[in-house]
């Protein structure tokens, strides 16, 4: 794949100019080639650059990897991938140290010590792939024959591309509803908020290129928000890459890199982002600054929204929104800048100014992620934030927000349904009938629209409610480390048979009965449709850059192999499926019909170039009308159509009225086909579901509106005085980078600390507590206490304790082991209503010298 340069000694010397060195005065004798020659070393090299895709975060940036004599020696950005544009973030460049980490798991391992615990040596012994997979298949079949197939759970993180589909098929055919992702400890709050008010359960794509004003609620653009690499590129572009400089307003509880670099920083009190958004919405409406072409207007020109005054519904005609007047009357009318100020701590006049800037500097985007979402009120916070986008009319507009389009893959010809045997069918039926629950209770009446409630799995298993797990597979996820209060998982999972796929000795791996080590991402193939950002579809091809160094195998192939060994219909399916590469070849047939802009039209060209993409984004809102791209421009208006279809049925001619509403089908997928300030999704909950939801709320009557729900904090009632935030640094490869020297050396760029984590304190708070920079301190919450180094960050508000997440591993290789502390260990396990977003910012602590 890619450009291959084969060089012999002669051409190499010629190419590097050493043959003519005498004439090139600037070459000195420490020139490596000359040195090599002087030492009699053979300077012959086989060198190539291979296009692939990064996996240090879920973004999926394209890479080019330099391979010299079979060794990967440099990772750079792929210029032909729209997310990379030849660039990467620091994590992307650091991938080589993970590949060549000497402490990788190098072969399948089997546990010989039945006892599990932090201080138990698993006494792993190397086994062959055959032995491991045959034993696991036999155990799976035994559980299945006992009628307990549902007690097998598959916990996964980055199951990109075909990994996701293979795990999905495996669970379906095996007969378990427990295919559980860890999205609830990620950023589900913003996704579910959007599902509630505009009908799409996804992250947004953003037209940063054309945006002039960014109101960012707790999305760490320059640190952790994905796709980080593209965000960094766009940030600089919005500053200096075009004639008009965009304004970046960062709303964050801490003085982060993004806050430092932003044009303005609004240090809100934790969990109050929604209140700020509502205050801004109030100003936009009372000042008459909303977008009339999208939202609509008063029937009588010149009528206004006045503070504290209700508006009659019939006085206002909405265009592309629904429920504005109800929202105003029930939530907004009294929620002025002063009220928002009381809650958020931001002065009222500042809120008013920001609101006016936001509504008048078009196009403007209101965005946000986990900072605002990881609170008990996180889903409502994000509903309020996202509602601002509708008020200024930037949904699907130039410089506004969009949703990422899917990739036109061809579908896999084998259908799961054809290979489900009676066990699989029964489990599927029972789950759909709600007579069989998932172990995390997602999709139950408590969590009807939550995708996953990953953080609650240990508690459910410990209580045996709804049942006990018999076996657990983990892929790219580390429940014993990464969830709040992971001590629960460490206790609960002692009696679960665990099959882990990591190539690193994670905490979960140390509890595993088998480790089936995945090939590192440079050692295997995978398709990688990108994380939302550009709007138009992009998918990368993760090529195998080098052969696996050790006895590791691609987990997708391993699962297919395991499926084959299961026998029965399942075995038949996976035997026909063959292997991972077959799947990639099959899906890439979709590109024959829809070639990419870079000419990629099938498997080979996709693999060679490393990316398929097709511009432009197909939809556009302009002056209150939606248009679709017709091949030359946004010319085709997306209008609601009523057609009378005549069909001949049973010999009779039948007329049926067919209504097509392309906006509702493709863009605003709510019940009303509009952007809903009053959520019909939430109002459509069953009575029982509503009752449960309302019981969790302080303002139950407002459950269907974006509103400010007072956040709950663990430890507040017990008098713990400080708020803990546990952000991710840019050098943090998503919980998996503590063993990367290049990243650890500069882990804390802002505070200038490496090879450790810390708690950041405001200087006045530190002085009051008698703590100096670099002191060891205890951080205590209702969950427990933990010892860590204190660092003074002069920019943080006095009420904040900033405790970055990364360290505190018991193992994870020689470099990670024993470094720093894990903030999760003192974090209470709270979940946001509706989305089940884990509330990682909702624990209060006290800090004192150790």
């Amino acid at each position: 794949m890619a450009l291959e340069l084969k060089m012999n000694r002669r051409t190499f010397l010629k190419a590097t100019g050493v043959a003519g060195a005498a004439t090139v005065g600037v070459i000195s004798f420490d020139q490596p080639v000359i040195k090599a020659l002087a030492q009699g070393m053979e300077a012959v090299r086989e060198e190539k650059w291979v296009s692939s895709v990064c996996i240090q975060c879920p973004a999926g940036c394209g890479t080019k990897v330099r391979v010299v004599n079979g060794k990967a020696v440099k990772i750079e950005g792929n210029p032909d991938h729209p997310y990379s544009n030849g660039k990467l973030c620091p994590k992307g460049y650091a991938g080589l140290q993970l590949l060549y980490d000497v402490d990788r798991v190098k072969s399948p391992l089997k546990r010989t010590n039945p006892n599990k615990g932090q201080n138990e040596d698993p006494k792993f012994m190397e086994v062959s792939w055959d032995e491991a997979l045959n034993d696991i298949a036999a155990r799976l079949n035994k559980i299945r024959n006992e009628g307990k197939s549902h007690t097998v759970a598959f916990l996964s993180g980055r199951n990109q591309g075909r990994a996701g589909s293979v795990w999905g098929t495996f669970t379906t055919l095996y007969g378990t509803p427990n295919n559980i992702g860890h999205s609830s400890i990620c950023a589900d709050a913003s996704k579910k908020a959007r599902l509630c008010i505009d009908g799409t359960d996804d992250y947004c794509a953003y037209d940063w290129e054309n945006c002039n004003y960014v109101l960012n609620f707790g999305g760490a653009t320059l640190e952790a928000w994905r796709p980080t690499n593209l965000m960094l590129q766009k940030w600089a572009h919005m500053r200096r890459g075009r004639p008009v400089r965009a304004k970046q307003v960062m709303i964050d509880t801490r003085f982060s890199t993004t806050a430092i670099k932003a044009d303005e920083w609004l240090p809100v009190k934790p969990g109050t982002d929604g209140a700020l958004a509502l205050g801004i919405a109030h100003v936009i409406l009372t000042e008459g600054l909303w977008d009339r072409s999208f939202v609509g207007d008063f029937k009588v020109k010149g009528k206004k929204f006045n503070h504290g005054e209700t508006v009659a519904k019939e006085d206002f005609e909405e265009t592309w929104t629904y429920g504005l007047i109800d929202w105003w009357n029930n939530v907004l009318k009294d929620f002025g800048a002063n009220k928002a100020s009381d809650i958020t701590g931001i002065p009222g006049e500042r809120i008013t100014r920001i609101a006016k800037e936001f509504a008048t500097t078009k196009p403007a985007i209101a965005a946000g992620e986990r900072g605002a979402g990881a609170h008990t009120n996180g889903t409502y916070n994000h509903m309020a934030i996202h509602a601002l986008n509708a008020l200024v009319g930037n949904m699907f507009a130039v410089g506004g927000v969009m949703y990422q389009m899917g990739v036109p893959y061809a579908s896999i010809s084998l259908k799961d349904a054809d290979y489900m045997d009676d066990v699989a069918k029964k489990v599927d039926k029972d789950f759909k009938a709600h007579t069989l629950a998932r172990i995390d209770e997602a999709k139950s009446d408590e969590w009807p629209i939550a995708s996953n409630v990953y953080q609650n799995v240990p508690d459910h298993h410990a209580k045996g409610d709804p049942y006990k797990l018999g076996m657990m597979f983990t892929y790219y996820t580390n429940p014993l480390f990464s969830m709040p209060n992971p001590q629960r998982a460490r206790e609960a999972f002692k009696d679960v048979f665990i099959v882990e796929t990591s190539s690193y000795l994670s905490e979960t791996a140390l509890y595993a009965d088998y480790i089936l080590p995945d090939a590192y991402y440079l050692e295997r193939r995978q398709d990688m449709a990108v994380y939302a950002s550009t709007g138009y579809p992009v998918t990368g091809f993760r090529a195998q850059v080098i052969q696996p160094i050790y006895n590791n195998r691609d987990s997708v192939d391993v699962i297919i192999d395991l499926g084959k060994r299961m026998g029965g219909k399942m075995g038949e399916y996976f035997t026909k499926l063959g292997n991972h590469e077959n799947m990639l070849r099959e899906i890439s047939k979709g590109f024959e019909k829809t070639p990419g802009d870079n000419g990629v039209n099938g498997f080979d060209s996709w693999a060679e170039k490393g990316a398929w993409y097709k511009k432009p984004y197909l939809y556009r809102l302009s002056n209150g009308k939606f248009y679709e791209w017709d091949g030359t421009g946004y010319n085709k208006e997306m209008k609601k159509k009523e057609e009378v279809k005549k069909e001949v049925k049973d010999g009779k001619e039948v007329e049926t009225k067919v209504i097509t509403d392309p906006v509702k089908d493709k863009l605003l997928k709510t019940k009303s086909g509009k952007f809903e300030f009053r959520s019909s999704k939430l109002e459509g909950f069953t009575d029982k579901q509503k009752e449960i939801l309302k019981s969790e709320l302080k303002s139950p009557e407002l459950f269907a509106y974006p509103h400010y729900e007072e956040p709950q904090f663990a430890g507040k009632d017990e008098g713990f005085p400080l708020h803990m935030s546990s952000p991710k640094m840019i050098t943090h490869a998503e919980g998996r980078g503590a063993n990367v020297q290049w990243l650890q050396e500069r882990f804390g760029i802002v505070v200038g600390r490496g090879w450790n984590n810390w708690v950041e304190l405001n200087p006045d708070t530190a002085e009051e507590l008698g703590i100096k920079n670099g002191d060891e301190v205890w951080v205590e919450s209702p969950i427990g206490k933990i010892k860590v180094m204190a660092v003074i960050n002069p920019g943080n508000p006095p009420w904040m304790v900033v405790f970055p997440f990364e360290h505190g591993h018991w193992n994870y290789g020689r470099y990670a082991k024993g470094l720093g502390a894990n903030p999760n260990e003192i974090m209470a396990n709270l979940s946001a209503v509706i989305s089940a977003q884990s509330c990682t910012n909702a624990t209060m602590v006290k800090v004192y010298p150790a």
Binding site: A15, T16, G17, V24, V26, I27, S28, F29, D30, Q31, P32, R45, V68, N69, K71, A72, V73, K74, I75, E76, G77, K87, C89, P90, Y93, L96, Q97, L99, Y100, L222, N229, L232, Q233, W235, A236, R239, R240, G241, F255, T257, I260, P267, I730, Q741, W742, Q744, E745, R746, I749, V750, V751, G752, W755, N762, D764, N793, P794, G795, Y815, L819
Partner: protein, 217 residues
């Protein structure tokens, strides 16, 4: 004459340290361990420094990437007793590893602290760049502006300098396109164009070192 220099636009900089990691990878700069770090034996030709002004709520901070300034009048060259460090005709300040005796005079002389001492013989790593030499214990090293890339480009007759020519790894790596590399003597080069901006400054120009790395504020 060619005189290479760099312009770093801090208004573009996003403080991500991609430059620092790419530099370590490209130049096979030895990675530290937690113990090395505690002993301040961190080798980073390209490093990040954050300077705070004031405190909450009236606070600001500046995140600066620092590299060797490849000074026009490099103090490190003056003090080297064995001629290990020298200024090349094209402006690069370089280190001859085989001449270096590890006296560290240059490290003391450099006002920017951009020179690093090898306390150990470098371990061989599979990912090391075959284009740069292995380091032995007891020698000083520093940023070379990726001279191996420049020399190769010269030999191959390739264009050198941003935006479309060969660049040092840090410049090529930067997702924010913060850095621009090129010939300061060529009035049409990107670096020269950027230096016409009134935002430009050098680090401690009062020392008379005449840094060839410029910052835009």
């Amino acid at each position: 004459m060619v005189r290479y220099g760099m312009v770093i636009d801090l208004d573009r900089c996003v403080g991500c340290a991609a430059c620092a990691v790419a530099c370590k990878a490209e130049n096979s700069v030895t990675s530290s361990t937690p113990e090395d770090y505690k002993k301040r034996r961190l080798m980073e030709w390209n490093r990040m420094v954050t300077v705070f002004k004031g405190k909450y709520p009236n606070v600001s901070a500046s995140i600066m990437p620092l590299i060797c300034n490849h000074c026009e009048h490099p103090p490190c060259v003056k003090v080297c007793p064995v001629d290990a460090t020298y200024k090349r005709e094209d402006g690069l300040v370089l280190q001859r590893y085989e001449r270096c005796i590890g006296c560290k005079y240059c490290m003391v002389a450099c006002p920017y602290q951009q020179r690093f001492f090898n306390f150990y013989e470098q371990e061989e790593k599979d990912y090391h760049n075959p284009d740069v030499p292995k380091r032995i214990s007891g020698i000083v090293e520093k940023c070379t502006f990726c001279r191996h890339r420049i020399d190769k480009a010269v030999a191959e007759g390739k264009k050198i300098g941003s935006p479309d020519g060969v660049e040092p790894a840090c410049t090529q790596a930067c997702p924010a396109r913060t850095r621009t590399f090129g010939d300061l003597d060529d009035p049409d080069s990107e670096v020269s164009k950027l230096l016409r901006s009134r935002r430009n400054y050098q680090l401690r120009p009062d020392l008379g070192t005449e840094p060839q790395v410029y910052y835009l504020d």
